[in-house]
Amino acid sequence: MDPIIANFIEENIVPKFNYWIYVILMMIGLYAMITKNNLIKKLIGMAIFQTAIILFYVSIGVKEAGGIPIISHHGSEHHQEAGAHSEAGSENLKHNIIDKDKYANPLPHVLMLTAIVVGVSTLGLALAISQRIHKSFGTLEEDEILNKLRPGGHD
């Protein structure tokens, strides 16, 4: 393949593929929200849209050698010490120095807990509203609803 493009992919895309993935996912969601005619499909698009952002935030906090952000230093190692060099790990813990790179960044996880909850609530409320629309208009297709409204003028 042309070296320039290869270099571009090698240098730009491969190490940062997570950003590309979340942008593509997000654009799918956004496209669905804007253009889909059925209200429920719009909501599905919204869910994809929000999930993409959650993916983006979580991908920020990842560290190559980082395990889950829970400090486990109890004597009985009931789960395997993260990383092969357990000797260095336990030695560190003796005088209580926590190696920052061994734990993932906790902040994005906290933020995304909130974003998930917000996503659920918005989705729940939107479903309730769409049920309300369905009850009064009898349909969930946006163009049919607008036709029902237009001849009626101001109801």
Binding site: P15, G66, I70
Partner: protein
């Protein structure tokens, strides 16, 4: 409309991607976010300051406790919002006329559910209680507890589930959950510290200031669990019956 959608999406996409050129590569520990002062403080100091090994729960319930309080309020709003939008108490179908033949999903389902339901609920409570040491916490436990009630409604029919967890009770549960959370924060206020400053509570809680923070986090997580359980079940019961609470799915 479709063309407009495509153009808009394309522009937004290109704009977003254009910013990635000066982003740190994925997983690079030296990135500004991971290597930053704030997150390194959380990693290195949470164990020392709050005696809670699970940093995420510590940040969630203590450092950014104010955020989580509003998060619970968001769930609470979703719950009462759905009721406000869907239910009409004046209209014809306002009386909750349970279909009497709603006996849930048949004998086999009812039997297996009656077996596994207790374990689900115990595990849910475990997740809430052990949010400090293992992944988990108020939200996750709350959702599991809520799911157990939904399972009950599916298996034994909404009418029976509603008899246990009536609409009035869900509202009280949800409100009490937030009361616990905000009340605990106000307790810190009354004792002189800032809102949600748990270390001030060491006078009334056993152990030193750090332990007080750990206990307070547990209390706060319980509050969250209350609200989440109630709202999950209320969402299910309202959405599945389009606000008539007549017959489960």
């Amino acid at each position: 409309m479709k063309l407009f959608g495509l153009i808009a999406v394309f522009i937004v996409g290109v704009l977003l991607l254009s910013a990635t050129q000066d982003f740190p590569s994925w997983g690079n520990p030296r990135s500004a976010a991971s290597d930053g002062e704030v997150s390194s403080f959380y990693i290195e100091k949470t164990e020392a300051v709050t005696k809670v090994p699970n940093m995420v729960t510590a940040v969630l319930a203590d450092f950014r406790g104010y955020d989580t309080m509003f998060e619970t309020v968001v769930i609470f709003i979703a719950g009462i919002g759905i009721i406000a939008v869907l239910r009409n108490f004046e209209g014809s179908d306002s009386s909750i006329d349970y279909d009497n033949d709603d006996n849930g999903a048949g004998l086999l389902a009812r039997f297996t559910c009656s077996l596994i339901l207790p374990f689900i609920q115990i595990f849910a409570l475990y997740v809430v209680a052990h949010g400090h040491h293992s992944p988990g916490g108020g939200f996750q436990g709350g959702v599991m507890l809520g799911a157990s009630y939904i399972l009950l409604a599916l298996a034994f029919g909404l009418s029976k589930a509603k008899r246990i967890f009536s609409e009035r009770r869900t509202m009280i549960f949800a409100a009490v959950g937030i009361f616990i959370y905000v009340g605990w924060g106000v307790l810190c206020l009354l004792l002189g510290g800032e809102f949600l400053n748990y270390s001030v509570l060491d006078s009334i809680l056993p152990g030193d200031a750090m332990m007080a923070r750990s206990y307070s986090m547990l209390v706060v997580e319980i509050g969250v669990a209350f609200t989440v359980t109630a709202i999950m079940f209320s969402m299910y019961s309202n959405l599945s019956t389009r606000g008539r609470l007549s017959k489960g799915l």
